[in-house]
């Protein structure tokens, strides 16, 4: 597991997040293991119907051209795409022809780690549209709490201080002004101590 892994979100929580984005034409990526794609697509469709009363179509496509052809007839449902086999050229095609990707409801790319890395390289515009809406399932990445703990560990090593040292310094209003200390207090849930 890499320290830079995408934070983990399980399908029900992902569906809840997506319910907040319905109608916004948002683009989302969900990174899973290769043998979990079909189940993730089916589960996500079911969860979206349950938590958001949002109907979703699953598109099983081999490449970008097939996707663009199917998208044109997908009306106003959310679209969940099996993008587990998309290669660099597929992402580049979608990036170039992104005007044809335009869709009124949510578009979710369910893919695997290597394919997503290719997206980041070959499709800068699509990556930009994804924004921060990129998640992974449990076996592919750390939980959000793992992310928080890892960052705290890095900060402790950087400053050679403990969490309590930082809290004490902040309480006495003698904490250095480095932005890392503000981040440290936030991660400890003590943003109230930020001057």
């Amino acid at each position: 597991m890499s320290a830079l892994d995408i934070a983990t979100v399980e399908v029900p929580a992902l569906a809840l997040r997506l319910s907040l984005l319905r109608g916004t034409a948002a683009y989302v990526a969900y990174i899973v293991d290769v043998d979990a794609i079909s189940q993730a697509l089916a589960d996500l469709r079911d969860e979206l119907s349950l938590v958001a009363d949002l109907e979703a179509s699953i598109l099983y496509v081999q490449d970008a051209h097939a996707l663009l052809a199917q998208l044109s007839i997908s009306s106003d449902k959310a679209v969940l795409i099996d993008a587990g086999s998309f290669a660099s050229e597929d992402w580049a095609t979608l990036d170039r022809q992104r005007s044809q990707l335009a869709h009124a409801e949510l578009t979710v790319f369910v893919t695997v780690r290597d394919c997503f890395a290719e997206l980041m390289r070959a499709a800068p515009n699509l990556a930009s549209w994804l924004g921060a809406q990129v998640f992974a399932n449990c076996s592919s990445g750390p939980s959000i709490d793992d992310v928080r703990q890892r960052r705290l560990k890095a900060l402790r090593a950087w400053a050679d201080k403990s969490d309590q040292d930082v809290i004490d310094l902040a309480t006495r209003n003698t904490l250095p002004r480095d932005p890392e200390y503000a981040e440290w207090l936030v991660l400890l849930g003590r943003s109230d101590l930020i001057a």
Partner: protein, 332 residues
């Protein structure tokens, strides 16, 4: 020209609205040439024929023949060759919007029916400007150069003003010579937050219009603005993600905790697929502010906005995207 998410399309649409509002003499037509045509197969004539069809569609049923001719040129047609002792053979003429056999002749063919379309438009609106979006997605700079030197030149010859959204790579290396084909070019920059307060105030105001002060404290707004690196699209993405985090955590308002999670998530996504040489380049930019585009890999760092370039009349400055900065130590 400008980087991904810099607002090029927004600006060009605003220009169209502005031109249309100037006076009755202006007709500004917006056209995304990538919608009807795969731009990897771009060739001279491809832009003109689409401009012609777009203009002809405004003719309210007039010049039907010319419009039809443009469509045929765009998509291909059958023509009949007559021989002395024969009834004639049909042959298929390929359209411009598909792989060509000849370049220059296609520009000429498209110009013939376009001229009466332009002439009729000018009877009511003498000044015609076309604003062409989508060509920024071209990666073949030689093809982009041919469009500039054939289609643009031909349209200018008809007295039509042309505004292009061009590819960012045309600003770097040997491709920079392409910009000389245009009377002028406008670079759509990122907002440099290190340069005075106006940039921060502008982005803060954009955020304030979307999320009121009762839901978002000034220090949280500052954190989101700072983490955007002056990229409007990233600011809105971060704010949206932070709002989702606030809802998921049951918070009454968007706090630093939620903003931090959104910023961290964004940064992690931004570093997916990074190669060791790219990681080294990012660290060098962060430590020294030093960045020289000598390879496609370097250009990719700009295109993917892992490195942000800030330009004004006097200087160019480079920085890594703020959401990546805290994660650089983790990179190998």
């Amino acid at each position: 020209m400008g980087g991904v998410g810099s607002g090029k399309t927004t600006e060009i649409l605003a220009a169209q609205r502005g031109l249309e509002a100037l006076d009755d003499g202006f007709s500004a037509v917006y056209l995304d040439v990538s919608k009807q045509h795969d731009i990897t197969k771009m060739r001279p004539g491809a832009v003109i024929v689409q401009v012609g069809i777009a203009l002809a569609q405004r003719m309210d049923g007039k010049l039907v023949q010319e419009k039809q001719r443009l469509i045929e040129i765009a998509h291909g047609y059958q023509t009949q060759r007559w021989y002395e002792d024969d009834d004639g053979d049909f042959e298929s003429v390929p359209g411009i919007l598909s792989p060509p056999d000849v370049f220059d002749d296609d520009v000429i063919r498209a110009l013939i029916p376009l001229r009466p379309v332009v002439a009729l438009m000018r009877e009511t609106r003498p000044h015609i400007v076309v604003l062409i979006d989508g060509l920024d997605r071209m990666t073949d700079m030689a093809a982009f150069d041919r469009i500039a030197s054939h289609d643009v030149k031909a349209l200018n010859g008809l007295g039509i003003g042309v505004v292009f959204v061009g590819p960012l790579r045309a600003l770097y290396g040997l491709d920079r010579i392409i910009t000389q084909r245009f009377d002028t070019y406008q670079y759509q920059p990122w907002i440099d937050l290190a340069k005075g307060h106006s940039g921060r105030e502008f982005l803060s105001s954009v955020l304030a219009r979307r999320i009121g002060d009762d839901l978002l404290d000034p220090d949280v707004r500052d954190a989101l603005v700072g983490s955007s690196g002056g990229v409007m699209r990233d600011l809105l993405s971060l704010a949206q993600a932070a709002c989702v985090e606030a809802y998921m955590s049951g918070a009454d308002k968007l706090g630093l905790d939620e903003a931090t999670i959104a910023i961290n998530t964004f940064g992690r996504k931004h570093l997916q697929g990074i190669r060791p040489s790219e990681a080294a380049a990012l660290k060098r930019v962060h430590q020294l502010g030093d960045f020289v585009q000598t390879s496609e890999e370097d250009l990719a760092l700009l295109m993917t906005r892992r490195v942000l370039e800030y330009r004004d009349e006097r200087r160019v400055r480079y920085a890594v995207h703020p959401t990546i900065e805290p994660l650089l130590d983790i990179l190998g």
